[in-house]
């Protein structure tokens, strides 16, 4: 029973009947793979982002802040990481979230748990993982992401680094919480539709290029070609993948399809997971923006702890997922 059977049938028809490519030929397989994967991913994206946005309209950041402000340190880390899954995240919202949380009295460690989970475990990355790697890898990614977020936040909370936050942050105190205007059903649908279209508009070129290059690799690069460079036996694979991932955040949507093709050619699964986590959770533009509210030292501590967590996860799954 395959939910995507109609898409596969359509891709077969387009590649082999309309374009007259030969099945089982290199070009035929690559084109077929490209059509099937892009259609599948775009349908998944449109449906799932819409559903997540509707849920999100019931959980605005103001509500999340009020929940977190009432929690103690450790429960806070866990809840912050879980809530990070449903919130949208782009580096442009890092500052408002940080200021809003800290000024409302959310502990620094809890705030950091949220800052890690929110970009790392987002619906776009999850759909791509689900569509290209299958549900097992998607679940492994979510669970390890949550553990890294809880752990990083807990460590930062223990370090007592409040002095490394710019003093102006603590000078204003958010006065209570404004009553949010109640959204009507219509407004929720408008919000979800706008959000879904915005995301699709932003990511479609990256995804097409990613899947396109992936399809080419799928068809033309010999299997296991990369195994001798990036297989699980190579110790430097994981840290190198994490370093390469840091500047790639804005291209996350294109990177995942590309990486899925590389995995077929012998890159170890743990290395792949570490790479994707680094792309989403460690983002250079976000670090630059965070400099407005905290000292560089705190950003380094933050990146160091999250990076260590990701590298550990990479090695772990290189051992387990053979």
């Amino acid at each position: 029973m395959n939910l995507f059977y109609p898409i596969q049938a359509f891709a077969d028809w387009l590649a082999f009947t309309v374009f007259k490519l030969t099945p089982k030929s290199l070009a035929g397989e690559a084109v077929n793979f490209f059509i099937f994967d892009s259609l599948k991913i775009f349908i998944l994206l449109a449906v799932i982002i819409f559903i997540v946005s509707i849920i999100r309209s019931y959980l605005p950041p103001e509500k999340i802040r009020n929940i977190l402000a009432r929690k103690n340190q450790y429960t806070g880390n866990v809840i912050a990481s879980l809530l990070g899954i449903v919130t949208p995240f782009c580096s442009c919202s890092a500052i408002p979230l940080f200021l809003g949380f800290v000024q409302a009295g959310v502990p620094l460690g809890t705030t950091f748990s949220f800052l890690v989970a929110s970009p790392m475990i987002n619906e776009v990355a999850l759909i791509l993982l689900l569509g290209l790697f299958g549900w097992k890898i998607a679940i492994i990614y979510i669970i390890s992401g949550l553990i890294i977020a809880v752990f990083s936040g807990a460590v930062i909370g223990k370090l007592k680094v409040e002095s490394l936050v710019e003093p102006f942050v603590y000078q204003s105190v958010a006065h209570g919480s404004a009553e949010l205007p109640q959204m009507t059903k219509r407004e929720r649908i408008i919000y979800a539709r706008n959000y879904t279209l915005d995301i699709l508009k932003k990511v479609w070129p990256y995804i097409l290029v990613g899947i396109g290059v992936g399809a080419w690799i799928h068809g033309y690069v010999p299997t296991d070609f990369l195994a001798k460079y990036a297989g699980s036996g190579k110790w430097y694979g994981v840290p190198l993948a994490v370093l390469i991932g840091i500047p790639l955040y804005s291209n996350a949507a294109g990177v995942i399809p590309l990486v899925s093709a590389l995995t077929e050619k012998g890159v170890a699964m743990g290395t792949t997971l570490a790479f994707m986590m680094s792309v989403t959770a460690l983002s250079l533009p976000e670090f630059m923006i965070l400099k407005k509210v905290m000292k560089s030292k705190l950003i380094l501590i933050f990146a160091g702890i999250v990076g260590t967590g990701i590298i550990f996860t990479g090695y772990l799954f290189n051992l387990i997922l053979k």
Partner: protein, 82 residues
């Protein structure tokens, strides 16, 4: 009545500002729509999402940009509450 659009200066906020100006004009109101990009002011209202449409200092729409008609409704709803 004081009508303000608050945002971080991003494209979405600018869009809400433009649409709100149109809505106010179409409603035959003489009020100027004020555009504020100081994020601390959003935080001081107890909010964290942008953009915000505020009527007399109270949030009427938060975090998304609807069409002109929805904005008119939100302004009417907020002004009848006062």
């Amino acid at each position: 009545m004081k009508i303000q659009v608050l945002g971080s200066g991003c494209a979405t906020c600018k869009k809400l500002f433009e649409i709100t100006k149109t809505a106010v004009k179409e409603m035959g109101m003489s009020e100027e729509v004020e555009y504020i990009t100081d994020f601390q002011q959003i935080l001081n209202m107890g909010l964290m999402s942008s953009p915000v449409l505020a009527v007399d200092g109270k949030p009427a729409l938060v975090g998304f940009v609807p069409n002109v008609e929805e904005i008119k409704k939100a302004i009417l709803k907020a002004s009848t509450k006062l």
